[in-house]
Symmetry: C2
Subunit: 449 residues, 2 copies
């Protein structure tokens, strides 16, 4: 008799159907609110990017009844299209949340689907936050089961695993029974999104958006009796075997309901690849401590984890997007401008003569003894002084998470130019109190211009 795989799809579906919002620990709920605040800020901030404009121009003419908001913009579209567009804008700056173990960006697929769905069918904050936690739980656990093999093959795991999170979250709000929840997971499994080859083009941010849209589609189909496999994950020709060379399916079900992946979510203080964060952190600290002027700097010498130069070793970036992959630019702009937000990774910043001049005085060596969230920075001044600073754990890492105040600054920085100062503040306050809203659609409305 052939070996029967562990029926993880059915187990996961049963857990999702039975889960109760009351059982969420307070710390999990708090982290879910932080995840949501960070996601809304990123989605509003990215909403004027050319990728969003192009997607809206291409697909807007096919939109159904315009019941859902494109965050940060004036347009309304149907909820399925809104989930795509908000997923694109929330990821396009590469500034959204990160599940460090799998490099999944958890909120994009799940929150994009949920908020758009909340404009289709009223949802209170209690249920909304619960569905957000469950969706993120599903995508990150499936990610845990196949990481790193699945990612190494070339799947952009945020899209390929994220689709399950969106299906589970919307399926929970649709109150699917266990069989239909399994079908929703099956319909998600058959629609994975995202090859890593797309990194560097607009298609990267398409991935969380399309995962949101595909997951919502899966849940809607299942709710209407569209049948699928009930062993979509573990079957011989199911998702785990087809999309990965290795997997541990116990990661999907062990300790369900007793530990939560959202509890280890992390948020970026800087709008660039996470490996550069320790260097930016060190440069900002040195600048503040010494009240440094860029003109006073003779040379900057960075010691970094080997991955930093492998991933972000561009010495002469030509535009904002390439700047995100240049540790030299990141150090120079942090010293010049005292920040590491999206403005510091714009075309303007990357081409600024003062930044370019300082960038060319930055050198870097790798030190395998350094952890990924550590860096050492030495600055030689023209007056002969030498400064140095060692960062053990960069701001935003799990050891030094961003505080709520940090998240507020990030949110306001991303949104107030687009929404106006008072509306941005009101939106932020609404996000912090999401759990207590009678109708979460109010947040989407407050994020429209």
């Amino acid at each position: 008799m052939p070996h029967q795989p562990d029926p993880v799809t059915a187990k996961l579906a049963a857990y999702l159907v039975d889960a109760k919002p009351e059982s969420l620990p307070a710390a999990v709920r708090e982290e879910a609110v932080r995840t949501f605040v960070n996601w809304v800020g990123c989605a509003v901030g990215g909403s004027r990017h050319a990728a969003v404009v192009a997607a809206l121009a291409a697909l807007g003419p096919f939109s159904g009844p315009p019941r859902a908001s494109v965050l940060g913009r004036s347009e309304r579209v149907d909820p399925l299209l809104a989930s795509l567009l908000n997923g694109i804008s929330s990821h396009v700056f590469d500034f959204d949340d990160t599940h460090l173990r799998t490099v999944i960006h958890p909120a994009g697929p799940v929150a994009s689907a949920l908020l758009a769905f909340a404009e289709h069918q009223p949802v209170n904050g209690h249920d909304f936050l619960h569905a957000l936690v469950l969706g993120i739980e599903v995508e990150c656990r499936i990610g845990n089961a196949v990481f790193p093999a699945h990612y190494d093959i070339g799947w952009h795991i945020t899209g390929s695993a994220g689709v399950f999170g969106a299906a589970a979250a919307v399926g929970k709000l649709l109150d699917l029974d266990a069989q239909r929840m399994a079908w929703a997971l099956g319909l998600a499994a058959t629609q994975p999104v995202g090859l890593r080859e797309m990194f560097g083009s607009m298609t990267k941010s398409f991935h969380p958006g399309r995962a949101a849209q595909n997951g919502m589609t899966a849940a809607l189909l299942a709710a209407n009796g569209y049948t699928s496999s009930e062993q979509a994950l573990e079957a011989k020709r199911g998702w785990l075997n087809v999309l990965s060379t290795e997997h541990d399916s116990q990661e999907i079900t062990d300790g369900l309901g007793s530990r939560y992946e959202i509890a280890v979510n992390s948020y970026k203080p800087f709008a660039c690849g996470i490996v550069i964060h320790p260097v930016i952190d060190a440069c900002l600290q040195l600048r503040a401590r010494e009240q440094l002027e860029p003109d006073a700097v003779r040379a900057v010498r960075l010691s970094v984890h080997p991955l930093v130069l492998e991933l972000t070793g561009k010495t002469e970036p030509r535009n904002g997007l390439e700047g995100k992959f240049s540790v030299y630019h990141a150090a120079a702009v942090a010293l010049c401008e005292g920040g590491g937000g999206e403005p510091q990774f714009s075309d303007r910043a990357v081409l600024d003569p003062a930044v370019v001049a300082l960038r060319r005085r930055v050198s870097a060596i790798t030190d395998p003894a350094l952890q990924a969230d550590a860096a050492h920075v030495e600055i030689a001044l023209l007056d002969g002084r030498k400064l140095q600073l060692h960062v053990d754990h960069a701001i935003g890492s799990r050891h030094r998470p961003m505080s709520n105040t940090d998240l507020e600054h990030k949110f306001i920085g991303l949104s107030e130019d687009l929404l106006g100062q008072a509306p941005a503040r009101r939106l932020l306050d609404a996000c912090w109190s999401v759990e207590h809203l009678d109708d979460v659609a109010a947040i989407a409305a407050a994020a429209r211009t």
Copy 2:
């Protein structure tokens, strides 16, 4: 210096952009018309299936402006949704066309996208047929490059390769330049659809539909400047490497424009898995030749290719869908009813006491010496006579293709109960003359009830 892969994405894009309808050989155009006739008949025939009803109920509320037809039905929806629904209905009977080398069902993803697009933007029959040929060329060549490894892993190749065909075909009608055509292929590559695990559920027919919708989405995005990789097929983390363990990328580009995969397309005379076709063919010939009555049959003994019992060895099917995977039912119902169409694979037929009684007198042995399109049938009669018939090449195989008259009978059988006799005939005539229409949308309109 690392090995540079053959830039097949760019070569394919350049070919698609440069291709001219005038260069299509007459035989290729004729086969394209046959492919289209067969596809329209299947889509109309499947249009009342529960899968179509469920998908329409789930997604209809999100439809944009209803400019496109759901073939065989009265509803109109937006063209993207129409491409999904028509793709589902055209495959749900498993009665559509087959590219035998790859088991791709070529028309589903491509024609479903093209006809819906033709209701969005007027297209004449000349350009329409050319785009159909090109889309099928792209999906089948990409399929050739990865078959069988890609299919063996567990991908439903009709969806996973079909998305390229839809993107290329719609991209051609959108008159994309070479860069945007490459982006369209990139956006297709990142949205493969379909795990084989879904076979036996409604999700199987979702695959060609979603491939059509994803491919049209890819072309629309690219047309609006949504950027993607321009090496989506051959890159280290591109589609060929990520979705297959082996590939031969020369299959994609060798002889482009001089040989056409649509020229070897095939059409099913019977509404079930193609491996059973030789048995049905033999039973129908014996029944007609001997004017057999089922009650006169003592026993039926089948000799078949080994794959037949592996794929269709169900001895006691419980419903119509399971009947499609039972060579025993297929032989019995062919002898009882003199046919092998969708009515012979309905719940009614599978549960008919006379068919069940005869089915239990059917036995089968495998013969590795038989080709896949061959079968040997022996019938022992109650009066002691023994009959036998050997089929070398089943009707519908490349050696004995369905004639245009066969295709007409199939089309009418699928459509006249739904559309009415005269409208079905008018629709058929319009399909045969598709190449000469000023506006192909007329066919979609004629297929509405």
